[in-house]
């Protein structure tokens, strides 16, 4: 029965929009026939008609929550009493908040850089060997795993059992076989952040790799050959020809991963839940918003901070996109 209702919902929804677009377009045509004022006006009205539904959905699910978040950040934990800047002042003095900001900065510096770097280098190397395609598919595979799934997998890699016990964690198994003491990796402060980042890099390198592989195809072979004749070594070609050629692609991938990293949550949630100084903004926000009764004020402050972090990158991205379009014209 639920399957039937699902289908009928889809049909009703599609029908509604067909009727909406068809009818409004028809009415506009009719009105314009009798009152042929200006084509420009007609075009702008038509644009509004077609954009309106999408805008409405965007407003309801994105713009409104943004404003509501900002509003809530000035209210108390139940969203009833206005508390002014109190929530923000709290955040500034909260050690966990400061730790998250630091950790997020670390994630931002390391993960996009290393993912892009590995993706670029591996794409370039796999292009030159016959089993490159196989290697690429294997490296791309983690992309298909959800962050939580990846967390579970890596939990087994970092797993720790007391000394003397059989080590089931891969890393500890290796360490013990080399004759060293097993470590509780995820509790080693500062380093454990790197261990968590490794998971994200493991996943995102695949994305970078696939996009770079495609972009590499776009470099004309003759240009590389010209460089070879000019006397450039393979490393020099990579550095002086290929990297400048891929500049745009590198920036795109770097921004994609940067935005993703700013919102990193699942991996921390599944692996450490912010313990042992691995806290990040998104997990802290979740903590305050939904755990221990919830505090919508403080949660909103944290959500707002994440948004503030993403905005410059988005704006910069848009700006670049505009510049490129201008250059192409």
């Amino acid at each position: 029965m639920s399957f039937f209702s699902l289908i009928s919902t889809v049909i009703v929804g599609v029908l509604f929009f067909v009727i909406y677009f068809g009818l409004s377009n028809f009415i506009l045509d009719l009105v314009c026939k009798f009152k042929s004022n200006s084509v420009a006006l007609e075009n702008s009205v038509r644009a509004i008609i077609f954009i309106a539904p999408a805008f409405l959905v965007l407003f309801m699910f994105i713009l409104y929550p943004v404003f509501e978040t900002v509003r809530l950040s000035f209210y108390d934990k139940f969203g009833r009493e206005f508390v002014g800047w109190n929530n923000y002042l709290w955040a500034l003095n909260d050690p966990n908040f400061r730790r998250s900001i630091l950790n997020n900065l670390g994630w931002l510096l390391i993960v996009p850089t290393l993912s892009t770097f590995f993706g670029l280098v591996i794409a370039n190397l796999t292009d030159k060997i016959w089993w490159g395609t196989i290697a690429k598919s294997i490296i791309f595979m983690p992309m298909a795993i959800s962050f939580v799934g990846a967390g579970v997998i890596w939990k087994f890699i970092y797993d720790y059992r007391g000394t003397g016990d059989q080590q089931i964690g891969l890393l500890n198994a290796i360490v013990v076989s080399l004759g060293m003491e097993p470590q509780a990796w995820l509790t080693i402060s500062i380093w454990n952040n790197l261990f968590l980042m490794a998971i994200m890099i493991w996943i995102q390198t695949g994305l970078a790799l696939v996009i770079f592989s495609a972009a590499l195809r776009g470099i004309p072979n003759e240009t590389l050959e010209a460089a070879r004749i000019d006397g450039a070594s393979e490393f020099r070609i990579f550095w002086s020809i290929i990297i400048p050629f891929l500049e745009r692609t590198i920036l795109v991938i770097w921004t994609i991963i940067t935005i993703l990293v700013l919102k990193v949550f699942d991996i921390i949630y599944a692996m450490t839940n912010g313990e042992w100084q691995t806290e990040v903004l998104a997990n802290l926000m979740y903590d305050w918003m939904f755990r221990g009764g919830g505090d919508s004020g403080r949660g909103s402050v944290l959500a707002f901070c994440i948004m503030i972090g993403v905005i410059p990158i988005l704006v910069w991205n848009l700006y670049r996109h505009r510049q490129e379009q201008k250059n192409e014209i």
């Binding site: 010209a226 004749i229 000019d230 400048p244």
Partner: protein, 369 residues
Amino acid sequence: MAEIQINSLNKSFGKSRVIKNVSLCIKSRSFTVIVGPSGCGKSTLLRMIAGLEKIDSGEIKIAGKSVNDLPPKDRDIAMVFQSYALYPHMTVFNNMAFGLKLEKKSKIEIKERVKEAARILQIESLLDRKPKQLSGGQKQRVAIGRAITRNPKVFLFDEPLSNLDAALRVATRIELANLHDSMPDATMVYVTHDQVEAMTLANQIIVLSEGQIEQIGSPLELYEKPQNLFVAKFIGSPAMNIIPIEIFTKGINSFGKIGEKLKISLETNFNSSDMGREIYLGFRPENLILSKKDENSFSARVSFVESLGEYALVYASVEGSSSDHDIIAKVLGTPKISKGDQVSFQIQKGKMHLFDEEGKRYVNGKKQV
């Protein structure tokens, strides 16, 4: 001194053999053009000289030294590509200086050499631009400039004019010829499918077909004494007329016949053993003269006339044979001929080319070796 010596060179891509046992010598200081239809292996041959393509077997020597195992950069060559292959993110100056920088030349020397090359090619005002701000012709000059600055022994050109429009192609062609004159020590190897480029630029042409050398010679040799049917048809525009002919009488001035009625003096000595052989008679369109009917002329029916003012191309089919043979005549001025007319042609004395059944050239009744 940079002679290029190639000995029994072979190359296959998968199952298809692209270069078949090619041996040749490109003289030092020559402008050698390798010409042939597309897919004949000429670009592959050039890329093997450059070191961009591996050799299956055989040997390539540049200036007496085997370069089989040398990477491109150690062969003392420069190459100009059809697609220009400029480095898009570098300015014109840096494009031309890239090779010199890799050689770790001093900044002053780099600047001097780039300036000098830019002066020769008249692109001094473009040095600060990026390739995408240049026109096709300018890009090709930069590509040539990049080759010049490195001052190599051998210049390799891979169809450098193919991406230019017709007018620019002619202009650049002349500049390339002047460039060779201004650098008398350089050996230039130039690949093209355009026989006009080959004729105008080269002092030695290598005609290549299906991975084999058809003929090597100066442009005029190729034009006046093509060694086989392929070269005869390939060099010259419009192409040489070729019609099959049967050797009819022997002696000092043998006759050949086309079909039953038509007989033509072949200006050649054939033996009795040659009687009845089917060979090929070739003559160039410009060696046909409109004439009165006599014993050395043959008649043809005009099927089309292209009048270009300076000369007219007369398309006609030779009559008197079982199947008609279409020929083209290049007649100076504006002859008063129109479609459907019956005209008589004579072949100029000494301008006949005879080829045997296998397409090899005959001289005085003997196969040319």
